[in-house]
Symmetry: C2
Subunit: 343 residues, 2 copies
DNA sequence: CTGTTAGCGCTTTCAT
DNA sequence: ATGAAAGCGCTAACAG
């Protein structure tokens, strides 16, 4: 691993001063075209690239954005987060930086990890995700004046600290309801997340609102919460299916719960998509693979990544941004219309 | 965002020279216990952390390992890779470094990205994954003397360049066959990956070997390759099921194909787990969710991450390491034994 | 438009 | 055991 080329070597070879080479890179308009050309040629010849550490030391930057990968205690995976990370990596690169991955405990305890990274000047800022109610990171970073942007809101009483991007869950479930109404359904139940989950509440609100607009009942009687979204086996769906009158359609707060509902349906001899319509949320890979294909709401991942990075760099504009998910219709909600593929 | 504490500030406050503070951090045994204690106290007081850029500039290191996230052209996700990335992040942190994420085109074209990172001294080395036949990265990095380790082999004619860790696919499918034989099966088909895929060939070899040991037929007649693993809808499985005599068990090269086979089975009124046994490979989240639960081979992710980082730092030992996957038995291969949960 | 000087914060080398 | 000097590779600020 030979030593990398330095600015000085380029300067000598091109017969100019170090500073001129530096300018060729950072302020080319300051050079006479012919000098610029010559310097550039030597740079190419030598394959010179400025050392990020030296440059960072001088400019007080690192060219790195920190991103904390959540350690899921239950060993479950969030496929959606994987796709987001890929999109984010691409987007950060587009702005000439890179992503630095790290882990941290949840809540207050994790702040020291953020503090450490900052104290060492290892990162220029953070992209936050996996936000939780009462998440302390946002306010803490804001108070420190650290650049950051969040995918997901904090959902506390105070206004959201700092720039954020989120998916409009209510709009999503409302779309699902509209779609089901268009199929002729007039009795639409909701399979919710455990009580107090703000994402779940948001998604339930959209269902409630859209139902109200169509004069469809959307009271507690039509809503069943899953006790544990990751291991849902359709108990909640079962409760709704065993109630009278049985709803003809179910909107689930996410794909995991919708998938659990398949079981409850099958156990009762009810065919998803034919006898009872079903929609999910997240458009997980499983949604396209399962039979019948699960209609689900696709989150605009690339756009989220793009917006979050932009907001991190230019926080002065909108405080936040709500993106609409897109309904991907498959056979679980409209037999004969299954596209069978992935979104 | 106030300026971070420097070594000099600590030195002044502690009444020692800069060098002494540096030693307190990097060579504490060189200090008199009382001095060390005093310096440490000031460090804590001020929350001092050495600047990674300055230190790196001096020590010719960056404290970062590069990891390329594959951009899947077909938009598919590899859940397994997501879990590996989490494990890797944790493992790299354990050694006091961090992971730097980047993207690069496949093949030769991507090498310039690696080169760029190296020229800028942005990383100290690389962890490679998503290896492909003829992958040029390994030999290229080895020739440059860059530290690296690979999860996955290159599968070319020459010996594998550089340290690697991989999962023993043949051992996995052999385990599956043993399990099926123990259930009384004597006619076991194999659902393979497209021709020429070395991972698929490896997994097929284990099936063939284990079948041979039990005097079970494992010729081409019992093997059906999937044309496209991501969109498999069970055509290959269908061919095997329609042949005479119909196999009573199927070993699939991965979960996606096994999941496709569910359809082929159901289309023929054959119940997976009851009429025909089925096993997958990868132990994807879907395997635990689908009904009946899919028996599958779990890859030891944490161990892979641990070994790959160790080999990167100490490449002198074994050239490579083959890890055994673990068979997770669910109802698809032994009705009544479904644990229903995730691994 | 180009060159010189200074210094970012740290560790290495060499004195003491 | 502690300190002083030098310099890693770069860019900001100024001089010419």
């Amino acid at each position: 691993m030979s030593r990398a080329t330095t600015l000085e070597q380029v300067a000598e070879r091109a017969g100019v001063s170090r500073q001129t080479v530096s300018n060729a890179l950072n302020a080319p308009e300051k050079l006479r075209p012919e000098t610029l050309e010559r310097v550039r040629q030597v740079i190419d010849e030598l394959g010179y690239r400025p050392d990020t550490r030296a440059r960072g030391l001088r400019t007080r930057s690192s060219g790195l954005l920190g991103y904390c990968v959540a350690q899921r205690q239950d060993g479950s995976v969030n496929v959606f987060m994987d796709r987001f990370l890929r999109a984010l990596t691409t987007e950060v690169e587009r702005t000439g930086r890179h992503l630095l991955l790290f882990t941290a405990p949840e809540g207050e305890a994790g702040l020291s990890v953020y503090d450490d990274l900052l104290a060492r000047s290892a990162v220029d800022g953070f992209v936050l995700s996996d936000t939780r109610p009462g998440d302390p990171r946002h306010a803490w970073l804001r108070d420190k004046g650290v650049p950051f942007a969040s995918f997901g809101r904090v959902w506390s009483d105070e206004p959201q600290p700092g720039p954020w991007v989120d998916v409009d869950g209510a709009s999503g479930t409302a779309q699902a309801v509209e779609h089901l109404v268009a199929q002729g359904h007039t009795s639409i139940g909701f399979l919710g997340l455990p009580e107090g989950n703000p994402v779940g509440d948001d998604r339930a609100a959209g269902w409630r609102r859209a139902c109200a607009e169509h004069g469809i009942e959307a009271g507690e009687r039509m809503l069943a919460r899953s006790a544990d979204e990751h291991r849902d086996r359709g108990e909640a769906a079962g409760r709704l299916l065993d109630s009278e009158p049985r709803p003809t359609a179910l909107v689930a707060a996410n794909d995991a719960i919708a998938l659990g509902a398949y079981e409850a349906l099958e156990a009762r001899g009810v065919r998803p998509g034919l006898d009872v319509a079903l929609t999910g949320f997240d458009d997980s890979p499983t949604a396209a693979v399962v039979r019948p294909g699960l209609t689900s709401l696709h989150q605009p991942i690339d756009r989220i990544a793009e917006r979050v990075v932009r907001l991190l760099d230019r926080p002065e504009g909108e405080p936040g941004e709500l993106l609409r998910p897109e309904l991907i219709v498959r056979a679980s909600s409209s037999s004969g219309n299954d596209d069978g593929g992935q979104s």
